[in-house]
Structures are given as structure tokens and as C-alpha cells.
Symmetry: C2
Subunit: 244 residues, 2 copies
């Protein structure tokens, strides 16, 4: 299968050690869905070069684009640029446009560490946002976003238009039955129409008002409607609580 | 490096498509930290066998244990058992103990689909929880937990005692400076004491009362105290807003 959609890679010791609550992966999920960009996976990994490289290699086999969050900055734990360069087999170079912005900001007090902000994998392009001091570095479909949530949100909007969208129509059935007695019908439908994404989600919450939620997704509303009708016909009579 | 700690694999199309908010990965992060179990990574992937297999193989190279969430059940989208079996090079078999529980629950109405609940990679062990109808299947350090959040929480408690804990002492400094002017000091300390985990987290929130948060972690309180003292000595005078 050709790579398609986006995979997110959140670089964050602080998330894995529960010092801060994961926010950027969650925000990415929400905004990509709102725009209709397929999301393949979200990986939260430690600030370790070899782990990030391995995750990027896996992500790129499946997703056309990768958004990384975090590990961008001047300190020793900011290893994203180096890891992306390694994964892509490229050198790390200093980008003249970012270097100029760093020097303009720090003036004579500029340090070697501050200039690390200008580093990027060789051949990167820059994606600018009018409200951000520095552009996003992008290379071979990998967009390296900052981890600070305000900046991540801001910069995500500047890269979102780059991703191909895929229309998805969603149909939902809520059933009064648990999964086992409906599984055979779902199996048959899923097997005969593999191009339709069918999900089945039981709940054990007595307040929910249903036992299993069935989701049906496809690009065409007519296909979703046809599968929903087929399910209504083949599922046990009276088992449908409501439809959406 | 020997694999250590836990990696989480959340199997969830419904999370990636923003139909439900990710909860089990977040809960795992919180509970593992509270217990002192190192968490290496959390991967949220689609309900696709090959993707789960690839993620499991990567996870097992780094983590001693893997907790999966979701994809357990009788319907066509419940592919976790098959994926784990493939990743471990094992057959899928029916576990007599679970089969007996399924048959006891469904009686004569038991279906082939319901009996899928009894499937497990060959050679699995079962981890029982008194409040749960079915045990957790575990094989070669991979614990396959249900995705329904109430059940996930319940079953996580039954597997948590299996994981080795590592004491971590945390020291925190809040600084009035952004990262660039402090990066050289952090670099020097991190380089000379690589066994100490040092994190640096800038904020751009003017209400935060600081510009950069520095975290220092190690198993020994004395080592954390020594690194904190060294940072206080070497960082620009007056830059420390508060300590924790």
C-alpha cells in the first residue's frame, strides 16, 4: 500500500513520566479529523535519538507525512533535528534564514546554543507562520513542530494545508445487544465490503442507553447508507436503539 | 541496552479518528508513574494486524513488558490476539479456562464468535482479577488488556504488580531565563553526568511565573541534590525563581 495520511510522533520524556499531560497528540487528532486528513498513528517516545529514528522509519513506511512534536530548541535534550536527519540519511546544516532571525533576536549576545535553533536536515524547506518567531522546518514530508503547546497549535495551522484530505461519511448505530450475538452479522458485512470501515464498540456503562455502538465509514454517503440498511436488515429485530 | 520497563500499545481506530478521546494510554502513564514503573513509549495504532505486529516488534526490542489496550473481543475488528501471536511466532489456540467461562456465561446460546473471546497465543498464561469476568491473556511479557476504559483500569491493577519498579527522585528548578542563555550550562552538566536525566521545558505563558523549568532525575536523592546544587552554582546569578 502506498503511504498516505499523517503519523504523529510526540517526543516527550515529560509526557511519559507524567510530568505534563499529553496535549499535542490529542490536539493533532482533533484538528486532522476536523480537516479530513487521515491519521495513521500517534507515537509518544522518549527524547532518545535511536528511538526517534526507529519510530520515524516505521512511520514513513505507512504515512505520507509525519508531524513531530517537541525536541526542538537549544538544549541538550532537543534531539529531533538530529534524529530526523539520521532517519532521512541527511546532514544537519544551519539554515541561513533561521540563523538571521536568531541573530536578529539575540544581537551580540547570541550563543552557539541559540544558533542550534537554526539547524535543520540538509535540503529542508521552511514553513512560516506570521505570528511565530521561527518557521517550521520540513524535510521529505517530516514537519518538525515545537513541543510547547501554544506554539504547536499555532504551527500546526501553518502546515495543515499541506496534507491531502479524504472525505469520510460516518454512520452510527446504537444497539441494545452486546457484541457476541451481533458479531456474525458484522463479520459477514465487513468481509463482503472490505472497503468500508466498520467499528464495533461495546460499553459497560449502564447509563449509556445502549450496549454496542457500530460505526460505518466510507467516502460515499450512498455506500454508508447502503451498509447501514443492510445492518438494520440483518441484525436481530428490535436491537437498534438509535441511529446517527 | 537490555529491554526494561513497559511500552503501551493502544489499538484504536476510534481514537485516531477522534470518535473517542484517548483515555487508556493516559491512564497507563499516570498509574505506571505512581507505581514507579518506567514507561518507554506509548503507541496509538489502527486496528490493522500488520501495523500492530510491526509496533509490537519495535516495542519488544526496547521494553521488557508490553501492555496492549483494545482489539480484544468477538468482532471482526478485534485483531489483537492474532497480531500478538504473529509478532511472537506462535499459533492462536483456544484457552480451556476461558472457553469454560464463555460457555458458562452464554450457555446453549454460545456462538463461534463468542468463543473467539477464549483465543490466545499458544503458551499464554492468564492473569485473573476477582471483579472481571475474563482473565487477561499474557504471553512473553505482552499483556493484552481490553479497550473499554472501565475494564482497562480494572485489569491494569491486576498486571501492575508484575512490573519491576525503579525508584526515581525528582528535583525541579524554575528559572526566569529562556533556554538559550542557560543551554551551555545544561549541556556541560548533562554531558559530564549522563546517568542523570535532565529535562528543560520552556514556557511562553506570561502567567507561569517562570520561563524555563529544569527537571533532574536519578534513583539517588543525594545525586539529585548534588546536580541541583551544581546547577544553582553555575546558572546565571539570580535566575532561579523557585525550587521543588
Amino acid at each position: 500500500m502506498q503511504p498516505f495520511g499523517v503519523t504523529g510522533v510526540v517526543i516527550g520524556n515529560e509526557v511519559l513520566t507524567a510530568k505534563v499531560t499529553e496535549a499535542n497528540g490529542a490536539w493533532m487528532i482533533k484538528r486532522l479529523r476536523e480537516r479530513g486528513v487521515p491519521l495513521r498513528a500517534v507515537h509518544v517516545v522518549a527524547d532518545e535519538v535511536d528511538e526517534i529514528v526507529e519510530t520515524l522509519l516505521m512511520a514513513r513506511r505507512r504515512a505520507r507525512w509525519v508531524i513531530t512534536s517537541g525536541g526542538i530548541g537549544p538544549t541538550h535534550d532537543d534531539v529531533t533535528i538530529r534524529a530526523v536527519a539520521l532517519a532521512l540519511g541527511r546532514q544537519v546544516v544551519r539554515m541561513p534564514e533561521i540563523e538571521a532571525a536568531v541573530r536578529a533576536h539575540y544581537g551580540e549576545k547570541v550563543t552557539l546554543q541559540a544558533l542550534r535553533l537554526a539547524e535543520a536536515p540538509e535540503g529542508s524547506e521552511l514553513v512560516s507562520h506570521p505570528a511565530a518567531r521561527y518557521p517550521v522546518v520540513a524535510c521529505e514530508g517530516v514537519f518538525m513542530l515545537p513541543g510547547v503547546p501554544e506554539l504547536f497549535k499555532l504551527q500546526l495551522e501553518s502546515v495543515l494545508p499541506r496534507f491531502e484530505t479524504a472525505k469520510v461519511v460516518l454512520g452510527v448505530l446504537y444497539l441494545s445487544l452486546p457484541e457476541p450475538p451481533i458479531a456474525a452479522v458484522l463479520d459477514a458485512v465487513a468481509l463482503s465490503q472490505p472497503e468500508v470501515a466498520i467499528g464495533s464498540y461495546p460499553t459497560f456503562d449502564p447509563q449509556a442507553g445502549y450496549r454496542t455502538k457500530i460505526t460505518v465509514e466510507h467516502a460515499e454517503a450512498a455506500v454508508v447508507a447502503q451498509v447501514i440498511e443492510r445492518l438494520v436488515r440483518e441484525l436481530p429485530a428490535g436491537s437498534i436503539v438509535r441511529r446517527e
